[in-house]
């Protein structure tokens, strides 16, 4: 544990820490472009130069290990001149096309220019080297070679993380360019990360280009719902529209990466949403007030219960639901309705592609949570069997899909059930077959926890309030239960989680505070 001094501040850091990281730990920002905590050291941008006592030359702080008694300065005139000098050199050929560049607002060149530059250009416009702009290089990415500062992060990412090596440097000197090999576009499922790690506007994401200026965006710490991996994300939004997911650092789960499939998950919160409660009588849907929808649902459930017994009602939970929601759904099914027909299935329809990195075959964010809460797959199979045999009179179903039951079979399957209430976010076969549609909040509109495939319990936070008249699932559950005499008095997801952690062994001792923004492993998980 060496102790060193930086700008007069004495600090202790762990053995082998580079100056740049050590400085960051004590709140001193050293400007840099090529350094990335999850990639190898390139040391070529030369922005992170610092003065180290006993070294005649300035040293790159990204590749200089802190040693005992080292004295570092980042605030001297010599360092400032070096940094502004490097920045000026980086900008001489830059097209300065910020007004039409998507990176504007989150651009390393802009930010450091405002902080360290503010110089007038000493370089004649006509001497600028021009390179190719707007090149579709495959995957999610468009390359603008003129904006590139040749930091090599993209090249290293493709060598070290995806190991697919699609990009390289071509040419030399100030004609150097990054590109793909002729006729060999990006061919991996992690290309979106290139736009994230590119510190400038050279690599931009096709899906986000020209959609929104980043300074209009706000961000919520969330979890990707695209599969069981539970990648930590920033969900970027404006108003009640999501614009993109960006990976949020989580060394235990996704480092600083996110797959291209997950990146498109945000669209589900924007498109084709259920926004108004609907009751369907005689095949004719009618928009109704929440009170009417909840009253009817509770009444129908209780009616079936009283007339045909608990065997005639069923609850199908969803692995897209949070731990808190699954916990209340289970209590509704087992304590209020006392039905054996309760379960969930993580079998998902469609693409079940997986790899050995982030992408999991289970496309649900919370199958593991459901299992840990005693919501079983057998319960689901049993329930579907009971439905197909015509034994179910009233059904409460959560989520947008019925496990791997094909869309066109859902309608016929449910035709024998006299009352189907659907709690979901998006239009689909379930909402079309339901007698009551109870529109619920998307992952962007509510908070809670998911348990990823490895048992890591992680919080996701709401970006904005529920759209339209949609309601938080927890509220829907509590209102239904209370209309059947439960007397639940929960106040938000945190209070549900407190009850859950108090009674469910795998979650024992956890609280939202202890989960923090990186989550915690459930009992018995690594």
């Amino acid at each position: 544990m060496p102790t060193f001094t930086i700008n007069g501040i004495v600090a202790e850091v762990s053995e082998g820490t580079m100056i740049l990281e050590a400085a960051k730990q004590i709140g001193i920002e050293i400007p840099h472009y090529c350094y990335h905590p999850k990639l190898s050291i390139a040391g070529n941008c030369r922005m992170c130069l610092v003065e180290v006592e006993k070294f005649p030359k300035l040293q790159i702080s990204c590749n200089t290990v802190v040693t005992e008694g080292m004295v570092v300065r980042t605030d001297t005139e010599k360092v400032r001149k070096a940094v502004t000098g490097v920045l000026e050199l980086m900008l001489i050929h830059h097209p300065i096309d910020c007004p039409i560049c998507d990176q504007a607002g989150e651009c390393g060149l802009q930010n450091y220019y405002m902080k360290f530059g503010l110089h007038k250009s000493r370089y004649p416009l006509e001497d600028k080297v021009h390179k190719k702009k707007v090149q579709d290089i495959g995957g999610q990415i468009v390359l603008d070679a003129e904006r590139c500062i040749l930091c090599s992060r993209c090249v290293r990412f493709l060598q070290e993380v995806t190991k697919t090596c699609e990009m390289e440097f071509f040419d030399r000197g100030d004609h150097s360019e990054i590109s793909i090999f002729p006729g060999r576009p990006l061919s991996n499922r992690y290309t979106g990360n290139l736009a994230d790690i590119c510190p400038v506007g050279a690599l931009t994401n096709k899906d986000f280009r020209f959609k929104c200026r980043v300074w209009f965006l706000k961000s919520a710490d969330s979890i990707c719902t695209g599969c069981a991996n539970g990648c930590n994300i920033h969900a970027d939004f404006k108003g009640d529209i999501l614009y993109r997911f960006r990976p949020r650092r989580s060394d235990a789960v996704n480092h600083t990466w996110l797959c291209d499939i997950g990146r498109h998950e945000y669209k589900k919160a924007n498109e084709d949403r259920l926004l108004t409660p609907v009751l369907r009588e005689g095949g004719k849907p009618t928009a109704v007030a929440w009170d009417a929808a909840l009253f009817t649902t509770a009444f129908k459930l209780r009616e079936a219960l009283e007339e045909h017994g608990p065997e005639s009602v069923a609850v199908i939970a969803s692995p897209q639901s949070s731990n808190e929601e699954l916990y209340l759904a289970r209590r509704l099914a087992t304590e209020i309705l006392r039905t054996p027909n309760f379960g969930f299935a993580s079998r998902t329809p469609g693409d079940r592609a997986a790899d050995d990195f982030l992408i999991k075959a289970d496309k649900n964010p919370n199958s593991r949570g459901a299992q840990l809460l005693g919501v079983t797959g057998e319960g689901f199979d049993r329930t579907v069997m009971a439905i197909s045999e015509g034994r179910i009179r009233a059904l409460l179903v959560f989520g947008n899909v019925l496990a791997d039951v094909p869309e066109d079979e859902i309608g016929p399957l449910l035709s024998s059930v006299s009352f189907v209430a659907h709690v979901g976010t998006n239009n689909g076969a379930l909402s079309r077959a339901a007698h009551a549609v109870l529109p619920s909040a998307s992952f962007a509109e509510r908070g809670g926890t998911f348990t990823n495939f490895a048992g890591r319990v992680q919080r996701f936070r709401p970006a904005f309030p529920p759209r339209g008249k949609a309601k938080n699932d927890l509220e829907i559950l509590a209102e239904l239960a209370n209309r059947m005499g439960a007397g639940w008095a929960f106040d938000g997801e945190a209070s549900v989680f407190r009850a859950l952690s108090a009674s469910e062994a795998p979650f024992a001792g956890m609280s939202y505070e202890s989960l923090g923004d990186q989550g915690q492993a459930a009992g018995g998980s690594k």
Binding site: R46, I92, Y123, S176
Partner: protein, 422 residues
């Protein structure tokens, strides 16, 4: 004067193994293989052998950087990527006495327990590579390379690897990357090649001339070698001289010689009795000297004292009547073309310097351009992974410091006062 390398260079057959052996070649190897390895290293240290690639780092000290344990195989890389403008000495060794290099390689490898050696030869040296490859084949056939060399039980394989024509590949970590089949970019240090070099293995990179000196050191002893030179600069150097002199070429000289002697005694002075205007002493990267600065001995320390470097000992003579602005433009174009593009200051700075130089030489220079050059130089010097940026900056600064009036005249008169002559 006693010579180490060039003694038989006039003999056209010296490059054949038979004639080389007849003239005493490979005796040093036999002697080395019979004795302890440590003795060889000791003699090289005693010889004050300084690296001949330009930096002048003591060869024995460099060898000492290899890790002590032998758990990982070690690699010897011979840097034959001689590309520094004004330098053409290694080419002489490889074409006229390739077995000197091979014998040096075997002795050095034996001393350092190395069994694999690559000779990284500049791509443009087509003829030299062919001669070298023939010599390597001869050495294999003669039992000087391969398994069980001369019955000693020592094995060594040598591979001649041709570069693809990049100046930067003469920088030792760039050489290693290129050798591995990668883009010729210098590596960030640490780690240094002695611990993580070619193919991740401990590696020593030595210049051709450095290694070619080793057989003589083994035969005659380190002290004798050291005595041929001056303090801290053991042995002789192959001094190259080019430009309009009467006898341009390679001369094997002690570092005790002065620049004036090289130019006026050995090279016979300038052609047509022209006056001397400037001298670049050790390859194009070394700071230029004025005619009043050449009465100084040509050893590493003396050169440093007057603010320049002995470098590769490739002297470029510039006569009166030449345009220093144009001369610097030529150099700046070279560095802009050869910058590998890795580090920002060098990638962008070399091109910027070249463009400013071009407009000055073409009569479009602006007031403040000279200060601009010096400031850009300041932002490049010592700011990069390798020394290419420094190599571009040193001539730029020194040309301006020492011939400022020529630059001012170009800008003031809006034309080249020398008629663009160089």
């Amino acid at each position: 004067m006693e010579t180490v390398l060039t003694t038989h260079f006039d003999n056209g057959q010296y490059r054949r193994v038979d004639r080389y052996v007849e003239l005493g070649g490979y005796a040093a190897l036999r002697q080395a293989l019979a004795g302890p390895k440590e003795r060889i290293v000791d003699e090289v240290k005693k010889a004050n052998l300084r690296g001949r690639g330009g930096a002048g780092f003591p060869a024995g000290v460099k060898w000492g950087f290899l890790p002590k344990d032998l758990s990982r195989p070690r690699i010897l890389v011979i840097n034959a990527d001689e590309g520094e403008p004004g330098t053409f000495k290694d080419r002489q060794i490889m074409s006229k006495g390739p077995h000197l290099l091979i014998e040096g390689i075997v002795i050095s490898s034996f001393a350092l327990t190395i069994h694999t050696c690559y000779i990284y030869i500049r791509g443009e040296f087509v003829r030299e590579a062919k001669i070298l490859e023939e010599a390597v084949s001869e050495a294999y056939a003669g039992g000087f390379l391969g398994k069980n060399i001369l019955g000693s039980g020592f094995d060594l394989d040598v591979t001649v690897h041709r570069g693809a024509g990049a100046y930067i590949c003469g920088e030792e970590t760039s050489t290693i990357n290129s050798l591995e089949g990668k883009r010729g970019w210098p590596r960030v240090k640490p780690p240094f090649p002695a611990s993580v070099g070619a193919f991740g293995l401990p590696t020593i990179v030595n210049n051709v001339e450095t290694i070619a000196d080793v057989p003589w050191i083994v035969t005659h002893g380190g002290e004798k070698f050291a005595s041929l030179g001056v303090e801290k600069n053991g042995g002789t150097r192959l001094v190259g001289i080019s430009g309009p002199v009467n006898r341009p070429g390679i001369y094997e000289l002690s570092a005790a010689v002065s620049l004036r002697e090289v130019i006026y005694t050995h090279a016979g002075g300038l052609k047509d009795g022209k006056a001397l205007k400037a001298v670049i002493p050790g390859g194009s990267s070394t700071p230029v000297l004025r005619p009043d600065e050449i009465d100084v001995t040509f050893d590493i320390e003396s050169m440093m004292k007057i603010g320049t470097m002995a470098g590769t000992a490739g002297i470029i003579v510039i006569p009166e009547g030449s345009c220093m602005v144009r001369a610097l433009l030529v150099l700046m174009n070279f560095y802009a073309h050869e910058s590998c593009g890795q580090c920002t200051p060098c990638r962008e700075g070399t091109g910027w310097l070249a463009r400013i130089m071009r407009r000055i030489e073409e009569g479009n220079g602006r007031h403040g351009d000279i200060e601009l050059i010096l400031d850009v130089c300041d932002n490049m010097m010592g700011r990069t992974i390798c020394a290419l940026a420094d190599a571009a900056v040193m001539p730029a600064q020194s040309f301006i410091w020492k011939f400022r009036e020529e630059f001012d005249r170009h800008i003031h008169e809006k034309k080249c006062p020398f008629g663009n002559r160089f």
